[in-house]
Amino acid sequence: MTPILSVQSLSVQFGALRAVNDVSFEARQGAITAVIGPNGAGKSSLFNLISGAIRPTAGSVRFDGVDVTAQPPHRLLASGLSRSFQITNLFFDLSVRENLRLAAQFLEQGRGLLRPVRHSATARRRVDELLEQFDLGGKADDLAGYLSHGEQRRLEIAVSLASRPRMLLLDEPTQGMSHSDTHETEALIRRLSRDHGLTILLVEHDVELVMNLSDHVVVMHQGQKLAEGRPAEVRANAAVQTAYFGEKT
């Protein structure tokens, strides 16, 4: 399969700290790729580089054959690359429906921007779809700030998907979740990949989740890529054992 996302020698330096140092990897279309690593390995920085939140000091990111290095987030989204946030980043003062509508508004661009929102049928259909798909229908008119943590995490992913991106970057999607919520999220990610053909790149702390879910795993350690491969290969890798799993015992 062809890579849809290709990261080439990406580096970023904050002062003396090389948070990400010469990292290259590829994510295949339709696959679930995971980046794991212990705290401070540079996972989040790598994620922010790919999603345009910070600029790299060197290296490039190509999405679907186009160089998108250091492009602002709104351009990335327009080319089909969306992201969710680790710390839930919603419009807490607005209803669940309005959160989704704002995100789905992207689908209306150009045409319906100057007509009252009650006439934007495309966005409304997309919102109804997402409410159903993410099981938030019963909470549609509640303020996002009043949802439970698990519901907010679901809404966070739904908002990221509203524009129908081709690839989704998930930043620690199960962060702070209960055991059962984590399982639900795992099933949800699997469904998105299998039923909707969505390409997913996730950064995760939870090694078990990653091993169960991913087609391809990239292991980061001290800003560098330590290893990559199928989950089983990575698990068997000696360097990974000492650097990562070794710490756990």
Partner: protein
């Protein structure tokens, strides 16, 4: 800063499912009361042969336009413009110059002022929009200071005296700013049009996006939106509203002076917005009407009217942090809903 409109939008959503016919919301009623009240005021003034209070009301509406432009930025985009009088004053000067040296047409004067305000808004926006919070407020303040001092020191523009003896302007032959009743209606119509246009805009995806930018600007970029362009657009629109409102000023008073751009005018506009209700659009018009009236009425009894206004401002901010209309809207909405329900039970 939370917006009362967003909460009413949330509250209104389920109601819209229940009732096929759209009922007037509390915000609409408050707007109707304002404009109907203004018309009634004009009729009473006409019947009593009053001109002083009619011209005062016209001035209140003109400053209401400035307050409306502040509300667009402060209440919607979340930017505090401490120098919005810059555009008001520019519009006033352009209008005065056009009327004095070129034509007596109100429409031409307004059109030229509109073009100038849009251009000035674009330049000012490109400078100010890059920054946020306190920095935006100070840049806005600084721009107004610089331009007002420039005009203050330009002899060709009348320097500190401003431009005096601006002739009366005409809408049509024989019908113009020389007739206070006619001019009052024109100003009321224009400010009403600004209000309606902004209310319409706020219900479009574009307007909702401004709300989203205020609530969580960081996230909108990741929803495919270039927040900077929206903010610049809002800034230019606010400059246009302020500029056209300012263009009406010399038609009413027959003069303009650099004081129109001073911080006092910008500050009063912000106070009118906060007392009336930030983000409510109609609130700033109420705020302007009430405070302009108070300043004049209290000012005729005592020179210390600033004390009275200041105390009132503090009391309103403490007791009603969302302003008069921000406080009244949900109260009225609940009452309307209750009445609607009990009417529904009886049938």
């Amino acid at each position: 800063m939370s917006s009362p409109i967003t909460t009413t939008a949330v509250a209104a959503a389920p109601a819209a499912h229940r009732a096929p016919a759209r009922r007037l919301s509390a915000a609409s009623w408050l707007a109707i009361v304002f404009f109907a009240g203004a018309l009634l005021f004009g009729a009473v003034a006409l019947a009593l042969g009053d001109v002083f209070y009619l011209r005062l009301a016209t001035e209140a509406l003109i400053f209401g336009g400035l307050a409306l432009s502040v509300d667009l930025l402060l209440g919607r985009v979340g930017l505090l413009p401490l120098g919005q009088a810059l555009f008001f004053g520019l519009g006033a000067y352009v209008s005065a110059l056009v009327l004095k040296h070129w034509t007596d047409s109100i429409w031409l004067a307004l059109a030229v002022a509109l073009v100038f305000s849009a251009l000035a808004g674009l330049v000012g926006g490109l400078i100010a929009i890059r920054s946020k919070g306190v920095y935006f407020a100070l840049i806005s303040f600084g721009l107004a200071q610089v331009v007002s001092k420039l005009i203050y020191n330009t002899r060709e523009l009348g320097a500190s005296d401003g431009i005096i003896g601006v002739p009366a302007a005409a809408m049509a032959p024989g019908l113009g700013s020389g007739t206070p009743q006619v001019f009052f209606l024109l100003v009321l119509g224009l400010i009403g049009a600004f209000y309606l246009a902004l209310r319409y805009l706020m219900d479009t995806p574009m307007g909702r996006q401004l709300d989203a930018i205020r609530i969580n600007e960081h996230r909108v970029a990741f929803l495919g939106v270039d927040a900077w362009r929206y903010k610049l657009g809002a800034f230019v629109a606010a400059a246009c509203i302020a500029g056209v409102s300012g263009a009406l000023y010399p038609m009413l008073r027959g003069f303009v002076s650099p004081e129109l751009m001073f911080f006092q005018v910008s500050g009063h506009a912000v106070i009118n917005v906060i007392v009336g209700g930030t983000g409510t659009l109609i609130g700033p018009l109420y705020g302007s009407a009430i405070l302009t009236g108070l300043r004049s009425v209290v000012g005729s009894f005592t020179a210390h009217h600033h004390i009275v206004i200041g105390v009132l401002f503090v009391v309103v901010v403490i007791l009603m942090p969302r302003g008069l209309i921000g406080y009244a809207t949900p109260v009225l909405q609940r009452w309307l809903d209750r009445r609607h329900h009990s009417a529904g039970d009886r049938t």
